[in-house]
Symmetry: C2
Subunit: 330 residues, 2 copies
DNA sequence: TTGTACGCGTTATCAA
DNA sequence: TTGATAACGCGTACAA
């Protein structure tokens, strides 16, 4: 592949002039610049990225470490990140941690090694990973979940949204409200559970212990829902902590011949295009995932740009979308 | 950040020895190797990726250029790619082309500039992009859509799957079968349309011109479905070319008070977790997206490994999953 | 305004 | 087995 000296030779100038011309420095004779441009074009010259990165001691690459691209919540985040990054001339390397601390750590190592300009991380839990990055002065922004040691963070008010959702269920007349949340120890799972409990209390409802922890997936939720609903005194409503899980819950309802809304109130985190297609339509807590991604990327780019201000935490608002699955009369 | 010479100084050896020790060359005294490892550990040393890439004239990075990560079909592909790449020690940079040739071209430029080891591309259409890569000897694998100039490709038999889906509708007693497909000129859209026409013919049904082209999104499909169904002689069944579009179609059915299956048979490309939650459950043509990704990555890695064999095209099979939305009696 | 020459951090070659 | 040294391709300080 053609190098800068090939271009220089062809244009009859020095490599320095080529570099200057191609990088748009003003201090270059227009005629020479034209010759250089022509030569570069003819040779199909592309600056060698690694060489340039080495020389400049910086890259235009962001690492985005999330649990799973197949989760619509995270794909929306990643789309927000990508759009902002791309507009600023940055590339994004995407990493699936599968919520596995070891995998997360591994990707952080790669990010460090490749000298990425910054990292967007949805932390699996209590990490020493954060310290790792800080020690190497690589800017980092936490998404969706806080970073143990602090730092720039973009969150959603999961807890209060869960509380509101619980209150909404209570207002609709449900009295035995249960909750399916994620693995205990995972911040979002815990926040939603706490919000749920606050909601029960605020509504004056007793906590009947109708709670199950499971991984954030349909299969686990299916089992958990089955357990809860097979009890002697089953819940008459469920707050479900994410989109994948509610699929399992609704399947289980179907198997048991129960109808969402009428028999069991259902509300879940994360809206989806298909939520309105269900019968009854699914009530949800809609999270601004795309905005989280784009805001996080903006924060990160500011740091990369040299901002040394205090760490900021931005908390975005989820909002409740009431549909038929939380109406008894449905 | 610590460099290799820092480590060398601390361990009291030369940089060459450090390099050898850290890269596990056998020709290094165990005791020295231990000293090096200790020094590297104490300094928190990470080899400088760009420097190494420059020196080795190769990177362990794959570029994946798809139209949109928010499309579940492509996220499944990207997950397949990522898993295989990661297992082989490669990173993946993810790019959303939005089916815009200009954006695709831009990303190809970046990929070339960063000297990625290879590219996985879902081509927007008739490209000169392929030629670009070939000219620079960067291995490329086309996913889901063929590359104009040929080359390694992983496809799905969209066309025959569409034909089967059409035959299935005909067998179920539908006689005025329409088709909503993607933009004309896009290979998958055209293949599905052609398959649909073959299906009509094989079933002995007249082609009534019940075809609409739209972008692969819900909004376009909504308008198109409305147009078709508002006709004097509307279709009694629809073959829909993807998952996002069928959301628009089903919404439109709902607005018009029509029931899938009973009033209008519906079958769409791409299965989804929520397809069975609908009433009636949605019949689909299920595509092996994850496998496409992982197979594509394997093909690419083989090329990167130096395989100079003939270009291969692998065509995977989609399969029909009949559910309630293609049953008149539902 | 242009050119020469150095160094970014590694790995690979060659002698020792 | 080890060390000195030369690249890899680029950007930039300095000299012209």
């Amino acid at each position: 592949m053609a190098t800068i000296s090939d271009v220089a030779a062809r244009a009859g100038v020095s490599t320095a002039t080529v570099s200057r011309a191609l990088n748009g420095k003003s201090t270059v004779d227009p005629e020479l610049a034209a010759r250089v441009a022509a030569a570069a074009d003819e040779l199909g010259y592309r600056p060698n990225g690694p060489a340039r990165n080495l020389r400049k001691q910086e890259t235009a690459v962001l690492a985005l470490i999330i649990s799973d691209v197949e989760n619509p919540f995270f794909t929306a985040i990643s789309r927000g990140v990508e759009d902002v990054a791309h507009a600023a001339g940055f590339s994004v390397v995407l990493c699936n941690s599968d919520d596995d601390p070891a995998k997360e750590r591994e990707y952080l190592d790669v990010a460090l090694q490749e000298r990425v300009a910054g990292v967007l991380l949805s932390p699996t839990g209590r990490e020493e990973g954060a310290a790792l990055l800080r020690a190497h002065a690589t800017p980092i922004v936490a998404l969706d979940r806080p970073l143990p040691g602090g730092g720039d963070t973009v969150l959603v008010n999961s807890g209060s949204a869960a509380k509101n959702a619980t209150l909404h269920l209570a207002e609709q007349g449900y009295v035995r409200i249960g909750c399916l949340t994620g693995p205990s120890g995972m911040p979002t799972a815990d926040a939603r559970l706490n919000g749920y409990r606050e909601g029960l209390e605020a509504a004056g409802l007793a906590d009947l212990g109708l709670v199950r922890h499971t991984e954030f997936r349909a299969a686990g939720a299916r089992r958990a829902a089955r357990q809860l609903l097979d009890q002697d005194e089953p819940p008459d409503a469920l707050l479900v902590a994410n989109n994948a899980m509610v699929v399992g819950v609704l399947e289980t309802l179907g198997e048991l011949g129960l109808r969402a809304g009428r028999d069991v109130g259902v509300i879940a985190f994360d809206d989806a295009p298909w939520a309105t297609l269900l019968d009854p339509p699914l009530s949800v807590v809609s999270q601004p995932a795309y905005d989280m991604g784009s805001l996080g990327a903006q924060l990160l780019l500011r740091r990369i740009g040299g901002d040394r201000g205090e760490p900021t935490t931005r908390t975005l608002s989820a909002h409740l979308v009431a549909r038929g699955s939380t109406e008894r009369s449905t």
